[in-house]
């Protein structure tokens, strides 16, 4: 993944600041609870939701099992339709391919459709280094870009900002990037949207090159699909002369018909809409209609490694709906930035350590960034058992021997628990000396900083049983 997240502090430390920031807490709480309630309503409308969810799971699992075949089929179909397919093993390769393609057009700027894959590889930064400016055109991504900020949510990247903050940002920064914000801009949603519309319009009309991702790639036809709400994506997908799409290999589905499932589950899970306002689909190039050149960059960047892990591979089923973020109690308090990745929340906690490995401090801490409450698994439209993968990744982290003290403590505890006589002696000793225990014994700060310890009983249960029932 891109370098901007390297060196992130471990999750607990990064989360601490967010937890103690009342504005951020309020913004996140309001936003996640609103969308959470709406999603529940939208899903409850369908009496076959469980079957749709199971169908989605199966289509994805089937595709992943035969990914080699479907990718070749996809490549052939895209090529037949007039597109060019490029294969990128990692972020650096993908960035180099896209940069060279843009340079070949002679252009110095591109407009961008909201895309997770290009953020994952840090494409904007790579283009900038080559003297090419990338303009984000999704409203929330625009807010993030203008604020020189990082996205904190998959679907609503500026979820951590409120209207007042956005108004100030537009007024201050739009002029540096193009058309300035209108005078006397208010913080009403309509005014903010109009300011963004005017600012972006000149970019759409000028741009010769667009960069996108895709929600789905249909192997049988070579069709790419983007779902969006604003129509800005469609501007980028239709107006420029050259379109470059960077897509993770796991976004493949076998047939056109499979879309039937996901076009129902994705909008309801993500924006709580029955149907999203804009669904754009394109197959290669078409004479006299839309871009004249189309390039598809197929991105691996850790995905085949993830696929090799029997438990972890289910993370590749993800359709990036964000439902798991919106119900996650940890995300709600820690915010997206603490996850140190473009993929925050529960899905980020299982995806980033698989795509990037568990060696960095932040990646080794992500599998523990969950109380395992299971709310994410309940809402996931492709039934990814996120708690199961989290525990699996914790085993990986524990195995690499990072937490030596903890490992030693667990070994001792397990040994004691496997020796009931020792355990009982310990319990009795603790019970007998309980009056002398300090309220905050050394080594318990993580607990006692915010919580009292329970008072110990006069005797353990096993002694009560021995005296009263045997």
């Amino acid at each position: 993944m891109s370098d901007i997240f390297l060196g992130m502090p471990a999750f607990p430390r990064a989360a601490k600041a967010a937890v103690h920031n009342p504005t951020l807490r309020a913004n996140l709480r309001h936003a996640t609870h609103t969308i959470r309630t709406k999603r529940a309503r939208a899903v409850a409308e369908l009496d076959d939701w469980d079957r749709l969810r199971e169908a989605g799971r199966r289509i994805k699992d089937h595709t992943l099992r035969h990914l080699d075949t479907y990718l070749e089929q996809l490549e052939a179909a895209v090529t037949r339709a007039g597109g060019t397919v490029h294969w990128a093993a990692d972020a650096a390769e993908a960035n180099a391919i896209v940069t060279a393609l843009v340079q070949a057009t002679g252009e110095r700027e591109v407009v961008k459709v909201k895309s997770m894959a290009t953020q994952e590889i840090g494409l904007n930064e790579a283009l900038e280094a080559a003297g090419i400016t990338a303009y984000e055109t999704d409203l929330a991504e625009l807010i993030v870009q203008l604020g020189d900020d990082r996205p904190s949510h998959i679907l609503v990247p500026a979820i951590h900002r409120n209207r007042g903050e956005i108004r100030d940002l537009f007024a201050r920064t739009m002029a540096d990037w193009g058309r300035p914000a209108p005078d006397g801009l208010t913080d009403t949603p309509a005014d903010l949207a109009e300011a963004a519309r005017l600012h972006l319009r000149e970019k759409f009309l000028r741009a010769k090159v667009a960069v996108s991702g895709a929600n789905f790639m249909v192997a049988e036809t070579g069709t790419l699909v983007v779902l969006e709400s604003e129509g800005n994506g469609r501007m980028c997908l239709t107006l420029p002369e050259t379109l470059i799409s960077v897509v993770g290999i796991e976004k493949t589905i076998p047939t056109w018909r499979d879309l039937e499932v996901f076009l129902q589950t994705l909008p309801r899970s993500s924006t709580a809409e029955r149907m999203n306002p804009y669904t754009s689909m394109w197959t290669g190039t078409t004479d006299g209609d839309g871009p004249r050149a189309f390039h598809l960059v197929l991105l691996d960047n850790g995905r085949t490694d993830t696929l090799a892990d029997e438990v972890g591979r289910q993370a590749l089923r993800c359709i990036r709906c964000s439902a798991c973020l919106n119900v996650c109690p940890v995300y709600e308090r820690a915010g997206g930035h603490a996850y140190g990745s473009v993929y925050p929340g529960p899905i980020g906690a299982i995806l980033s350590p698989q795509l990037r490995g568990t060696t960095s401090e932040i990646d080794a801490s992500l599998p523990y960034a969950s109380s395992l409450c299971g709310a994410c698994y309940d809402v996931c439209p492709v039934a990814i058992d996120i708690p199961e993968v989290l525990v699996h990744l914790r085993e990986r982290v524990a195995d690499q021997g990072g937490h030596r003290l903890e490992q030693a403590a667990v070994k001792v505890a397990s040994w004691v628990l496997d020796h009931p006589a020792v355990l009982a002696a310990g319990e009795r000793l603790a019970a007998r000396t309980r009056r002398a225990h300090p309220a905050r014994p050394p080594g318990t700060k993580a607990w006692t900083e915010s919580r009292d310890l329970p008072e110990l009983p006069a005797e353990p249960f096993r002694d009560w049983w021995r005296k009263n029932r045997t």
Partner: protein, 239 residues
């Protein structure tokens, strides 16, 4: 009917009164209770923290202690969920224990078919369902029906009941700030009900919430479901 009580390590060492209450309820309903003395811990804490190897001896011990019983009853949703959902990955003998292990309310409602256990508890109560009870075991309305049938008890709806309290085992100490923030929100909701008692079916969650309540000097105490159900007019609950 004979059942084995799996009291759990936390209840044994810290909350023996929950174990005693469980015994009293079951015996009152005519169930014969055994306490296999070889039992300790189901292995959930090391398992959830990523220490599968260290979990294995605990799983083996639990299986040996309980496998001769047709019913194993435990006053802990999370330990029941550990056995139910994760024991299968430790081999056939462990897998065989899974369908015979019941969380207390589940055993009362689904196996014995009772919701009125003859309890008396003249206090205002709100119930936190806990993630393992709610999502992992799918306990549904069972615990609330049991509480509804308790004489003298005034049950208040807990806002945001389905949300995690922030305990999460080692999560509570690995991510103390987020954990405490979640706990404080849960406590705020519980206080808003005006209840005297915050009830739950998992003492680990209650240990975390009770710790916050005591630290904040809040006028609300935590109590395990079993202790409410064990309380009768003849022998009412006492501290």
């Amino acid at each position: 009917m004979r059942v084995a009580l799996f009291v759990t390590c936390v209840n044994d060492a810290v909350y023996p009164s929950t174990g005693v209450a469980t015994v009293r309820i079951l015996e009152r309903l005519g169930v014969e209770v055994d306490f296999p003395a070889d039992q300790t811990c189901c292995g959930q804490p090391p398992y959830n923290t990523g220490y599968r190897r260290e979990t294995e001896p605990l799983v083996r011990r639990t299986v040996r202690a309980f496998e001769e019983y047709a019913y194993v009853v435990t006053p802990s949703g999370s330990c029941a969920a550990m056995v139910r959902h994760h024991y299968a990955s430790f081999g056939d003998r462990a897998a065989a224990l899974a369908p015979r292990t019941y969380e207390l309310s589940e055993f009362l409602v689904d196996v014995l078919g009772v919701t009125d256990v003859g309890a008396y508890f003249p206090y205002t109560v709100t119930y936190h369902p806990s993630c393992h009870g709610l999502r992992a075991l799918g306990l549904g309305t069972g615990p609330r029906r049991l509480l509804d049938a308790v004489k003298g008890l005034d049950l208040r709806e807990l806002p945001g009941a389905e949300e995690c309290c922030g305990f999460g085992g080692t999560f509570a100490v690995k991510n103390p700030d987020v954990s405490a923030a979640m706990g404080r929100d849960k406590v705020r909701h519980a206080l808003s009900t005006g209840a005297d008692v915050l009830c739950g079916a998992d003492n680990s969650c209650l240990m975390h919430l009770g710790g916050i309540l005591r630290r904040e000097g809040a006028p609300l105490r935590t109590l395990h479901l079993a202790e409410i159900l064990a309380s009768t007019e003849e022998e009412p609950w006492r501290e």
